[in-house]
């Protein structure tokens, strides 16, 4: 095996339970985002564009969709003779085998994979953030500072800092303390979950951590604190561009809306998406351009291949193969691939799952009515959620913030 300078390990194991029914049957990194992408396109494109050609994707939850999506890695130019992209599920070795019990344990279980490439450095990524980052620059910082670990951080508003893992640094950017969700934060530098380690070092810490009986086998909880205790040289790498955790319904919806904000926070025609030298790659759905019908009205929206739009679409993100029939209206919503909004239906501030159908004259995201009963909106707030493959019967009414799970919805069957 050809020796690699750096390889990336992408932690894609998350079940994404805060995304509720959206991740019923898919792992969070396979979640569609931004019209034609999936969340994992961002770290994978970052790797490809940063000249990292070997990526291990660690997954143990609903891997089918993710596996199928990644395929040979061709979409990201990661189909390589030596290296490439590998999906790494947990496995049984000898008579032993276990699920990944934590982020550090997932890497520990794949030490053999990393050793095959004998890399000098390992980049640890997570699969639930939207951002565009040149890992090569971060690596350059790591190398020139002669660091043992480099952690990407970004400034968050100090009043929100208590929700993050906070890195306290000295004037040179050396990390002197790490506090997980501190009550009284001393800095606003939040860890982005992106680490570069010198592999020799990390390898030892992973083995030592595994031998510690009460360890949670987690990078933030165990590995980073252990390295800090040993006075390893750890530096913070500050990142200032767009970055968003899309782990909740609210943040997923917001990040989609960031693309169509005015001015856009995630600029389709600007540096983020449309840099010819730095494309965000994705797998093509192999569909024709979208068609806009004679009665259609579209504004402040993004629309991609395979769509047929005959109704009104305002301030929405429309994925591949979506149909919006005449007199239907879609406002402030995200329509995932293959969704269908039938004649006269109204969809407002909703996320409609893949291949779901909103029947004729149905309303999704409508104001609550007295007969709606009680349902839990703790995950959704005012965003209405329709799971993949769900059919909303003609004329039915889905009130704001409700979650509709698979099956036929309307009249008889209600699931919250």
């Amino acid at each position: 095996m050809i020796k690699k300078k750096i390889i990336a390990m992408l932690l894609a194991g998350g079940q994404g339970s805060r995304l509720s029914v959206l991740t019923n049957r898919i792992a969070k990194p396979a979640m569609p985002f931004g019209g034609r992408y999936r969340i994992i396109d961002f770290p994978l494109s970052n790797c490809a564009n940063s000249d990292i050609d070997t990526v291990g994707v660690l997954t143990q939850y609903e891997p089918m969709e993710l596996n199928g999506y990644i395929g040979t890695g061709q979409a990201w130019d990661l189909d390589r003779n030596s290296g490439g992209v590998f999906v790494l599920p947990p496995y049984i070795s000898g008579s032993r085998g276990e699920w990944y019990s934590g982020t550090a344990n997932a890497i520990y279980q794949n030490i053999a994979f990393i050793d095959r490439y004998d890399p000098e450095y390992v980049l640890i990524l997570s699969g639930d953030h939207i951002y565009r980052m040149d890992y090569a620059q971060m690596l350059a910082r790591h190398v020139e500072s002669n660091a043992d670990a480099t952690i990407a951080v970004r400034g968050v508003p100090i009043e929100e800092a208590h929700r993050f893992g906070i890195m306290n640094t000295d004037a040179e950017g050396n990390i002197i303390e790490f506090e997980e969700k501190p009550r009284a934060p001393k800095s606003n530098k939040a860890s982005m979950g992106i680490y570069i380690f010198s592999w020799e070092q990390l390898r030892q810490y992973l083995i030592a951590d595994e031998a510690t009986p009460d360890s949670e086998n987690d990078f933030g909880q165990n590995i980073i604190p252990a390295m800090l205790r040993d006075k390893r040289r750890m530096i913070a790498y500050e990142f200032k561009s767009y970055w968003k955790d899309v782990g909740t319904i609210q943040s997923l919806w917001e990040a989609n809306m960031d693309i169509i904000a005015e001015p856009p926070l995630l600029d389709l025609s600007g540096k983020f998406f449309n840099d010819r030298e730095w494309r965000i790659f994705s797998k093509s759905p192999i569909m024709p351009p979208h068609y806009v019908g004679p009665q259609a009205s579209i504004e402040r929206s993004i629309i991609t291949e395979g769509c047929e739009i005959d109704g009104t679409v305002t301030h929405s993100v429309i994925f591949a193969g979506v149909t919006v029939e005449p007199e239907a209206e879609v406002i402030d919503s995200v329509l995932l691939p293959g969704a269908r909004v039938q004649r006269g239906a109204h969809v407002r501030k909703a996320i409609i799952g893949e291949n779901s159908v909103v029947g004729e004259a149905a309303t999704v995201g409508a104001a609550r009515q007295p007969g709606d009963g009680d349902y839990d909106t703790s995950l959704t707030g005012d965003i209405t959620l329709i799971a993949s493959g769900t059919e909303i019967a003609a004329g039915s009414h889905v009130p704001v913030g409700m979650i509709v799970n698979t099956g036929l919805y309307g009249g008889k069957q209600k699931e919250a």
């Binding site: 019209g35 005015e262 389709l268 025609s269 998406f273 965000i280 024709p288 259609a296 504004e299 991609t304």
Partner: protein, 374 residues
């Protein structure tokens, strides 16, 4: 059976009638339907039939064709066994590199034909647009015991589609071709060939060798027309949509026809999709000033003006206050604020500066050459 067929696509069709569109590219590489090139349709139809050995005969201006096809991976033709073979002209002592006709081209790729292990070959052109699979044609060819099977569709007797190099077939009730006419002045048949021919490879080899030894150069004119009574030629009727892009007028018409649902459903049947080179464009973005009606819009477009009955290819920018109607706007054009365009074909990468007004006529659209700045 489809495993026993290979495809041979000729891309050297006369391009005079497509004028500026073929100034820097071969007909096969002419953009079509927002994100495709002409050749995508015939290539996808071959691939969707299960054919995995396809030769593409390149003639002149084939840079953009080669760039488009690459290794053939988008058509799954990057194979260890067979796959895509781009066959550019090469100069030897008996080869000038410029083909005098299709037969001359087939002669120069005889080596490829001989090496192909399949029993049958499907010969096609590259500027006829349709989406089908050839399973039924192959089945019919074998079942009738035909020497050659020609795919045809039904057209009006005198159709004014500006057809060039048109081959009309007289087909009897059994499907056998009784007569062939090339560019008839007064056509007597409703049946027009779609530039797809199936025959046994060994017969093709024989026909090429025999005709070439008599100094002939064109497959249709010198082989099919001369042998219509000695060979058993059958027609295979195709009732789907056919677009022969042989002139600016027909190019314009067939692009605009995609705005009709039936044509779209036929050409983009999801059971056998059309593959093309993937460009990783971003989704199309509609800004507050966008008013779009009856149009086909590709990814990467940014629309802030009025677009009515147009086909916008990838990455087109339509500025504020622009009025665009009945236009074909090819990849990467930039139409700036306040322009008004009607019946205009803008080739790739044109810039139309603020306030310009251009208008053509439905039978005679204005065509602006690649990269122009107005």
């Amino acid at each position: 059976m489809q495993g026993n067929v290979f495809g041979l696509v000729y891309t050297g069709e006369s391009s005079m009638q497509l004028r500026d569109l073929t100034y820097s590219r071969s007909v096969a590489a002419v953009p079509f339907a927002g994100r495709y090139r002409c050749i995508d349709f015939v290539l996808s139809s071959l691939v969707n039939t299960g054919i995995s050995n396809v030769g593409v005969i390149a003639q002149k201006n084939y840079h953009s064709l080669m760039d488009h096809l690459g290794s053939g991976k988008e058509w799954e033709l990057h194979r260890k066994r067979d796959g895509l073979f781009i066959l550019p002209p090469f100069v030897t002592h008996d080869n000038t590199g410029i083909y005098k006709g299709t037969l001359d081209a087939y002669r120069s790729v005889l080596g490829y034909i001989r090496r192909s292990s399949q029993r049958y070959v499907i010969l096609t052109g590259s500027h006829t647009v349709f989406n089908t699979t050839f399973h039924k044609m192959i089945e019919q060819h074998i079942q009738t015991g035909a020497d050659i099977t020609i795919m045809y569709n039904e057209v009006p007797l005198e159709h004014n589609d500006d057809q060039f190099d048109e081959l009309r077939l007289d087909v009897d009730e059994t499907g056998r071709v009784q007569d062939l006419q090339l560019n008839p002045y007064r056509p007597t048949s409703f049946h027009s060939a779609c530039d797809v021919f199936m025959l046994e490879k060994t017969l093709l080899e024989y026909l090429i060798e025999e005709a070439v030894s008599h100094g002939f150069t064109d497959f249709i004119r010198d082989v099919l027309l001369k042998k219509v009574h000695t060979l058993k030629i059958y027609g295979w009727r195709y009732d789907g949509y056919i677009g022969c892009l042989s002139s600016i007028a027909s190019y314009f018409t067939h692009n605009m026809n995609i705005l009709t649902r039936q044509v779209r459903d036929d050409l983009f049947n999801p059971d056998h999709p059309i593959y093309t080179k993937v460009k990783d464009e971003v989704p199309a973005h509609y800004l507050p000033g966008a008013k779009t009606r009856n149009s086909l819009i590709a990814d990467g477009c940014v629309v802030d003006g009025e677009v009515d009955s147009c086909v916008l290819f990838r990455g087109v920018k339509v500025g504020k206050g622009v009025k665009l109607s009945n236009c074909l706007v090819l990849q990467g054009c930039d139409i700036q604020e306040g322009c008004e365009l009607d019946y205009v074909i803008l080739d790739k990468g044109c810039t139309v500066h603020s306030g310009c007004r251009l208008a053509g006529y439905d039978k005679f659209p204005v065509i602006i050459r690649k990269g122009s700045s107005i």
